[in-house]
């Protein structure tokens, strides 16, 4: 018998009596979402910027220093689709669109389709995610209702810059991923 079949037959023999799968209720939250998100992201070392419209976004992008890869401009960013880690290692800033932002934990869902290359949001020194203010939801349950996790081959909730506290529980912002992270909300 293959290991697969052996494992499955042992599990079948040993599994407990049926236990029902619970429905997940809707939780009601009182806090205003934008303030809640900002409070959370600030608490984990990120920064929130509010921009009125695409015009303001454009201006702000122009103000970024160093090398920028902006995947909201698909045609310009397409050349990085097959770029290797060696080629991307030196990139300063990456700008990607986010699909859903979650107030309770400041996580933003980013899809492979929008990041062009899976490495981009991780290998850069600064990550900027642009999200429509209308795509802000209170909690993870509402977020999972709005996204399809297998829509692309890869998707990720990103909450703040990379960090570690592995040395004496001292929080260090900037571990292997970005050293800084901003969420730009667009809309009023």
């Amino acid at each position: 018998m293959s290991s697969r079949d052996e494992i499955l037959s042992m599990i079948r023999e040993n599994r407990p009596a049926f236990s029902p799968l619970p429905e997940i209720p809707v939780f009601i939250h009182e806090k205003p979402l934008a303030e809640w998100f900002t409070e959370t992201l600030t608490g984990i070392g990120g920064k929130v910027v509010h921009l009125k419209d695409t015009g303001e976004v454009e201006t702000r992008i122009q103000q970024q220093h160093g090398g920028v890869i902006n995947t909201t401009d698909l045609s310009a960013a397409a050349k990085y689709r097959h770029a290797t880690a060696q080629e991307l290692e030196a990139v300063d800033t990456v700008i990607v669109p986010g699909i859903i932002a979650v107030a309770e934990n400041a996580a933003v869902w980013v899809n492979e389709k929008d990041m062009i290359n899976r490495l981009l949001p991780f290998i850069c020194r600064q990550l900027i995610i642009i999200v429509q203010l209308t795509d802000l939801v209170p909690d993870m349950h509402s977020a999972y209702k709005k996204i399809r996790i297998d829509e692309a081959g890869f998707g990720v909730f990103i909450a703040g810059p990379s960090k570690t506290a592995d040395i004496e529980q001292s929080l260090v912002i900037g571990a292997h991923g970005p050293l800084a992270m901003e969420v730009w909300f667009v809309g009023e």
Binding site: I7, F154, D166
Partner: protein
């Protein structure tokens, strides 16, 4: 003949020799527990989430074979190569085969307690494949040739001075520069180079979703993503109990995991892998290694609900004062003490006794595993199987005999108490472990029984 590992109590005694160090260790972990409390308090539905998480896991265990088959089928459709390993040896050999077929020389690995459990690193090293642990804590302990002492904070037993010395020796950082930012940045530079030059990445898995055939990895450092996305080959390893039925179940678990683990609202990255990147190969190894046996033990099967948050470590007053290495098992702490006997009863018979059964572990557990009750139950099983030793059995038999005969009990107890009054040195000596650091209670002239006879029975006539 195999020798038993140093027992928890002996290792703990050695750990406790340096009092200021133990105080620091205790305070550091208590700080994590406090952060967890604060994070949990900020979620009004916290206790409901724990109920839900526990119920989802209970349901999954009751249909585990079906969900694994569903997951396998969906994962294959997604282009993931799925492997099944019955034990640690098979897990290691499957991975070696995959690596060899790609001529891999160097692997970057993000945190996976399963690969620790299976002893993958030494196995690969013996076969000429070098493995770099990329989680900062794991990297530190790897450089020191140690094991992680904590499943979430692998180097929590080390002070920054020790980390600085290790980095100075291996990475040539400035001597005595103990600044955590400096040390972290130094490791970042070295590990970046490993990420971009490695031939393959190995990762763990936090959750695998049956209905979509994908899996989720949670990290703060971004090391799992750096490794997985930079390599042409990604191998993910998971104990089969990591499976959950639906994508929406992730909402429950991700809300609980990081808050329970470190008090963060969520880990920086919750990465959902469904298909390999263009030009990449993605493998997943599903591992049993005793889990199916544990599933068949009704009093212990709930331990398979564990999501490895380590909240039970941080709250455990014994763990905080004995350190992770005293548990001589890949997973330490209270949860380790109920998982380890399933892997090897003889070697781990001491672990369920490394607890006061205070129950704090059960209370912090985000999936409501009855840890302290399982510790108690393991004690019964281990003694029944004869792992307590003849001397302990004999002592317990004598105690049972005395306590079931009231007359004998009174005579024995009164004699002992009178001896304590007459010849205290018989008790107050080094052979009595109570007396080593504590005074014996003072023995009163009369017991309550005697008092009662004089003061109540007489009145009642």
């Amino acid at each position: 003949m195999s020798t038993l590992p140093v027992s928890h109590s002996k290792a703990a005694e050695a750990f406790l020799a340096d009092k200021p160090y133990v105080s620091w260790h205790d305070e550091t972990l208590w700080f994590v527990r406090s952060k967890r409390d604060k994070a949990a308090r900020s979620v009004p539905e916290w206790e409901t989430l724990r109920e839900l998480a526990s119920a989802v896991k209970a349901h999954t265990l009751s249909r585990l074979d079906e969900y694994l088959v569903q997951f396998e089928s969906n994962a294959k459709k997604n282009g993931i190569h799925v492997h099944w390993a019955n034990d640690a040896a098979e897990h290691n050999s499957i991975i070696t085969e995959i690596l060899r077929s790609h001529n891999v020389q160097k692997v970057v690995k993000s945190k996976s307690m399963l690969t620790e459990e299976c002893g993958l690193n030494p196995y690969l090293a013996e076969r000429g494949i070098s493995v770099i642990d990329t989680d900062l804590g794991e990297y530190i302990v790897q450089l020191r040739n140690e094991h992680p002492s904590h499943i979430v904070l692998p180097a929590i037993h080390l002070k920054k001075e020790a980390v600085s010395d290790t980095f100075h020796e291996h990475l040539h950082t400035e001597k005595n520069n103990n600044d955590p930012v400096y040390l972290t940045r130094s490791a970042r530079t070295v590990l970046r180079n490993h990420f971009i030059t490695a031939d393959a990445a190995i990762t763990g898995v936090n959750f695998a979703v049956a209905e979509t055939g994908g899996f989720v990895i949670c990290t703060n450092e971004g090391n799992a993503d750096m490794g997985a996305h930079a390599s042409k080959l990604h191998i993910a390893c998971m104990g089969f109990e990591k499976i959950i039925p639906r994508a929406e179940d992730l909402g429950i678990f991700l809300r609980l995991l990081a808050r329970s683990a470190t008090g963060q609202p969520v880990t920086t990255y919750s990465s959902h892998f469904h298909r390999p990147a263009p030009g990449q190969e993605l493998h997943l190894v599903l591992v049993n290694n005793g889990r199916a046996r544990q599933l068949g033990r009704p009093e212990f099967r709930n331990s398979l609900k564990c999501i490895r948050c380590a909240a039970c470590f941080n709250t455990c007053p014994v763990y905080r004062r004995s350190g992770g290495h005293s548990y001589h098992n890949a997973v330490a702490g209270p949860i380790g003490a109920i998982l380890a006997p399933n892997l090897d009863m003889k070697n781990n018979a001491d672990l369920p006794f490394a607890s006061t059964l205070c129950g704090s572990c059960t209370n912090v557990c985000p999936v409501k595993i009855n840890i302290h009750e399982q510790l108690w139950s393991w004690r019964q099983v281990l003694m029944k199987e004869g792992y307590g030793g003849k001397a302990k059995e004999a002592a317990m038999k004598t105690m049972a005999a005395v306590l079931s005969k009231p007359g004998l009990f009174v005579r024995t107890a009164n004699t002992a108490r009178k001896l304590m009054r007459a010849v205290p040195w018989l008790f107050n000596n080094k052979l009595n472990p109570w007396y080593r650091q504590r005074e014996m209670p003072s023995a009163p002239a009369q017991s309550f029984k005697t008092w009662y006879k004089k003061n109540r029975n007489e009145q009642q006539g």
